[in-house]
């Protein structure tokens, strides 16, 4: 059974603080095989992609008052061991990204060029993860034309945009 380290970001957010660095610091302290249990006042959807890119799957449970308990589990089979297979969300069945790009410090439109170039090298069904300094509105048009699927959102502290793109299978 997976051991969990608890991180409660509710008081931090209530005080107007930014919890991202604390979550990341807790992540650094995890032993191999350990998971992270997060308590948040809302469902931290953007965090899911960041954690996925670091090799963590998640299980979510809504608490009273609209608060959430999220368990992040290392993606080494522990998910299947901890949960019945049917609980795996059909929406979360994209494979781990083959390529990670940090495009935050690149001049526009360089992020777009790098992402499209990297996508051309992926096999059908594979995914790519990219961090950007803003929402790549002109890239979406090109992704659509090429039949790629994508999921994207701002990070919780709104200082970066995270994008996962899947090449059509």
């Amino acid at each position: 059974m997976t051991e969990f380290i608890d991180v409660d970001v509710r008081p931090i957010l209530r005080a107007g603080g930014e919890p991202f660095s604390i979550i990341m610091a807790a992540l650094e302290r995890l032993e191999p095989g350990e998971g992270l249990r997060l308590y948040a006042p809302f469902k931290p959807v953007p965090l899911f992609d960041v954690m996925a890119s670091r090799g963590f799957a998640h299980r979510e449970a809504e608490l009273e008052g609209g608060e959430w308990e999220i368990r992040f589990l290392p993606n080494d089979g522990a998910v299947e061991a901890a949960e019945p297979a049917s609980a795996a969300s059909s929406d979360g069945d994209w494979p781990e990204p083959m390529v990670h790009l940090d495009n935050r410090d690149l001049d526009p439109p360089e992020p777009m060029v790098r992402i499209l170039t990297a996508l051309e090298r992926l096999a059908p069904g594979q995914t790519l993860f990219a961090l950007l300094s803003r929402e790549p509105v002109f890239l979406f048009r090109e992704l659509t034309k090429r039949g790629h699927q994508w999921r994207g959102d701002f990070t919780p502290q709104k200082d970066a945009y995270q994008l996962t793109v899947r090449v059509p299978a």
Partner: protein, 448 residues
């Protein structure tokens, strides 16, 4: 978010706008209108409307159709309205200018030219305002820069409403005869709403995003631009609502403007502070020419604020308002628009041409479409000419003004050639210029 496509007609707006600018500059060089003629006279009105409607508004509309969707990450409400709006604005301005020329006795035109021109312009601007407003509406709550655009859109409504009423007065209609004093108290409101609200306020908002984008500066702080927006909206509301109320009561316009003035200065000061902040926190050390020239335009805006305050303080405002208006229209607004077109035209051309093959073929960078050293020379001539022309107006040197505007016109022609070269991919080295699968862009229309 489904992404932003290229606005098909944005480039067409820019081309029509530059044609109006060149025409207006040519007339000024020829000595038409102010300062050779009365500042409120029909000939000056021809130049003023060519510059403010034909050039600045047209270029701003084209830029907004492309970049409001980027600001709010929503598609434009009705792309199909953009071409009819361009046609209405062009036709309306042409008829309006004919009306001014008839009013000035240059030909014997019918009295309905001015009101008909005004109605066509109002219809054109209405299409623009509804299109952009619906796009903004779909993206509530609005991000900071988009709030400036919303304020600007409200102001163009005020500007065109007053313009429409003026056309009734100037053409001698019975309806216009009911407001004999409208021209005296209404012109400052018309000008403040147009130059200050629509053109300046909107340009300020868009520049927050463009400067942050091109300097790689963080602009995620929701407080960024808040003071500039609040103070600016307050200044415009006090100036315009106060102006309309005093028009009703026939007194107190100066009081409303005196109250609005400090708020406007506070807004500009906060804007200047924000831009300096973006500049200091930028990650990109070497700035591209478009950003450096935008900053030169901002220097003109600061100079205009100082000049305006100084003229008011020493009681020379009325006699030198022409110099101030020229500095705002050319040093600030025209400079800013030309600087940004120098990025927008190559960027849209690059996206249109190389987007479809990107990642599959080697493609050039956006900067490979331009030759900054060549363009820098034209920008230097442009700003030097604009500042010299302002000085000549302050000194009442009419001939000197015409010579300085000739330099501005030469620079405009030089930059127009640079834009055409970018559309033609003329500066892209040959193996990368047209890879297989890429098509040569049209000069005046984008494929989307």
């Amino acid at each position: 978010m489904i992404g932003t496509s290229l606005c098909r007609w944005a480039i067409s707006y820019c081309a029509v706008a530059i044609a109006w600018l060149l025409l207006a500059e040519g007339l000024m060089v020829a000595g038409f209108g102010f300062p050779n003629h009365d500042i409120g006279g029909p000939d000056t009105l021809v130049i003023v409307h060519m510059v403010c409607v034909g050039w600045l508004s047209m270029a701003l509309c084209g830029a907004l159709f492309q970049f409001v969707p980027v600001l709010v990450a929503r598609p434009l409400y009705a792309e199909r309205w953009t071409l009819p709006a361009l046609a209405l604005l062009t036709l309306g301005l042409t008829v309006l200018l004919a009306g001014f020329l008839a009013l000035g006795g240059h030909f014997n035109g019918p009295a309905w030219l001015l009101p008909v021109g005004a109605v066509l312009l109002i219809a054109g601007f209405a299409l623009v305002v509804v299109n952009l407003s619906m796009t903004l509406w779909s993206a509530r709550p609005l991000p900071g820069p988009a709030r400036f655009v919303a304020g600007g859109l409200a102001c163009i409504c005020v500007t065109t409403a007053f313009g429409g009423m003026f056309s009734l007065v100037l053409s001698g209609t019975a309806a216009g005869a009911q407001w004999p004093d409208l021209l005296i108290s209404g012109v400052p409101i018309h000008a403040i709403a147009g130059l200050g609200g629509w053109l300046t306020f909107t340009a300020m908002g868009v520049s927050y995003r463009l400067l942050a984008m091109f300097m790689l500066a963080p602009d995620g702080d929701v407080r960024l631009g808040r003071l500039a927006w609040l103070a600016g909206i307050t200044a415009l509301a006090v100036g315009l609502v106060g102006g309309v109320l005093t028009f009703w009561r026939m007194t107190g316009l100066n009081l409303a403007l005196l109250l609005a003035g400090p708020a406007a200065l506070l807004s500009l000061a906060a804007y200047g502070r924000d831009v300096l902040g973006l500049y200091r926190t930028r990650k990109r050390r070497a700035l591209e020419l478009n950003t450096r020239m935008s900053l030169a335009a901002l220097v003109s805006l600061a100079a205009a604020a100082i000049l305006g305050a100084a003229l008011l303080a020493i009681g020379f405002f009325q006699s030198h308002v022409g110099a101030l208006a020229f500095l705002v229209a050319f040093g600030w607004l025209t400079g800013l628009v030309l600087a940004n077109l120098y990025k927008i035209v190559p960027f849209l051309t690059w996206l249109e041409t190389y987007g479809p093959v990107m990642g599959r073929m080697p493609t050039p960078r956006v900067q490979d479409l331009v030759a900054e050293r060549r363009a820098l020379k034209w920008f230097v001539v442009f700003f030097a000419g604009s500042w010299a022309a302002t000085l000549m107006l302050l000194l009442d040197a009419a001939l000197g003004f015409r010579v300085a505007v000739a330099a501005v016109m030469l620079a405009t022609l030089g930059l127009s050639e640079e834009f055409i070269r970018a559309r033609r991919l003329a500066d892209v080295a040959e193996p990368l210029r047209l890879p297989t699968g890429a098509a040569m862009p049209h000069l005046l229309v984008s494929r989307n």
